[in-house]
């Protein structure tokens, strides 16, 4: 149903663009895009959500010459990565490094493999692909024992970060995630998993031709927690004493209720 509505929107959009004669854009090729939803609300029953990213390519380039890349990027944070090593027979966290800022969520979808769309320099410039995300090592890790990082180390930590995030479905690369219809319309479907970080997400749409960006649009998507969960989360972090007492109160009440309910005379 949502998909149908979105498609309708795409068609309307295309018609509008065509009728206005694309006069507003100086660029020969460009794209207009939108998403089916710009607000994701995480409630207690949240198990993930599908969003549709869609739009139209404006331009006069020959059929099949354009590629579209869609990037969705969550709020940036710093992350501490720990590496286990065997010590006295058991595996313990032995090394730690803090990387950041890196997005807590990152997804890229494209019409074909990224390597075929654009050269490394162009992808690195626009931070397309988890490999090309720019970050730095944040030095204030509490572990003094960790030796200084070599470039190989940084790569190892970054790769591990991407691997773990991919395992949680929070980082993804889909080389066939964007489909182009009739050389004009494009659409990409993305499943946002549970465990999403909260905050403002950036959506980016790139139109590539001959390995160069010829059209670009950006937008926002907000992921918020709602309802009882939000109240609990906010209270837990901002009024922790009250939250703790509330937890004890609930437990006391339940324990007392049970004692009354199951009282055997």
């Amino acid at each position: 149903m949502k998909t149908a509505v979105a498609f309708l929107a795409v068609i309307v959009l295309t018609v509008l663009c065509a009728s206005s004669g694309m006069a507003q854009k100086a660029q020969a090729n460009a794209l207009v895009a939108d998403l089916s939803k710009d607000q994701i609300r995480v409630a207690s029953n949240f198990t993930g959500e599908r969003i549709l990213l869609f739009g139209a390519i404006e331009g006069t380039s020959p059929a099949g010459a354009s590629d579209v890349v869609v990037v969705v990027r969550g709020p940036s944070e710093n992350f501490t990565l720990r590496r286990k090593k065997r010590m006295a027979g058991i595996w313990v966290n032995a090394e730690a490094r803090t990387l950041g800022p890196l997005p807590g969520y990152y997804a890229v979808a494209s019409t074909r493999a990224l390597a075929d769309i654009a050269p490394v320099s162009e992808r690195a410039k626009h931070q397309i692909g988890p490999k090309y995300l720019r970050f730095s090592l944040v030095s204030q890790t509490p572990e003094a024992a960790t030796p200084p990082a070599s470039p190989g180390d940084i790569a190892l930590y970054h790769d591990s970060f991407v691997r773990i995030k991919s395992g949680q479905n929070l980082y993804s690369v889909d080389p066939s995630g964007v489909s182009i219809i009739a050389d004009r319309l494009f659409r990409a479907e993305l499943t946002l998993p549970s465990g999403l970080p909260f905050g403002t997400y950036i959506t980016e749409f790139f139109l590539f031709e001959k390995g160069r960006v010829v059209g670009y649009q950006t937008g926002e998507l907000s992921v918020t927690i709602t309802g009882l969960e939000q109240w609990l989360r906010v209270t837990a972090h901002e009024m922790p004493l009250l939250y703790g007492l509330f937890g004890v109160f609930i437990a006391g009440l339940m324990g007392w209720g049970v004692a009354i309910l199951f009282r055997r005379v």
Partner: protein, 308 residues
Amino acid sequence: MQIYLPIAEISANFMTLIGMGGLVGFMSGMFGVGGGFLMTPLLIFIGIPPAVAVASEANQIVASSVSGGLAHWRRRAIDIRMGVILMSGGVAGSYAGVQLFKLLRALGQVDLLISSSYVIFLSVIGALMLRESLHAIRETRKGRPIRVRRPGQHSWILRLPLRMRFRQSRLYISIIPPLLIGFLVGMLSAIMGVGGGFIMVPAMIYLLRMPTNVVIGTSLFQIIFVTSAVTVLHAVENQTVDIVLAVLLMIGGVIGAQFGAIAGQRLRGEELRALLALIVLGVACKLMLDLVVEPAELFSIQRLEVGP
């Protein structure tokens, strides 16, 4: 049905959590133990962050000890004065435990602290229980009455200064041993997310020589306050109490405990204890293996708190 746990920051299956609460509740009702020492490892096994598992389980134990404690309160089977002394030590111990927990959490070693505490305590207690119950089973088979082993004299400990009269327990002893026992159990409670009855009850019988009829009630009485303190302290210092998780476990636990108590009356005591000992040793083995076998993923991520 999935439910989002706001502090653990993961979705878990609603029925799995209730079911686990029920299973552990059933066993605690059947064996007459608290069950925290089984629940916390189970939560860790299903992927709840260990720090959240410990703090939320402490919160759940508040509920189970209140309902258990009230039953003993009605029978006047609680030595309030002793309970208050144990609890004073316990609250101090839980403060120390939470501080240690916080320190090691910042160093990334809290999971190791939790796992190794469990491995040590579960294997020692499991082994002792297994030995004792197997011995009892053998004796009953031979038709001999089970002799209740009287412990050795520890009276010098009880004759330390700062003596106090405990009317309900018919004791006149120093308050230093109960304070120390309380402190130790409070610390374990904060680190392991347990009530600590499995240490407290034997300590009360064998070290403090309290009469058995007030032991369970007094233990539950002090557990209520110590686990409450642990819950509040973890909430304040570490923000790891997940109330949604705790409430789901409470619901399951309550129902399970009722059925467990019925089932427990139909089984023989020694065999029950041997079974529990095997379960305890099994959990200890699993935790031990997780420490020793090379993990599939050597790296772990922790989001840095971007708080005010």
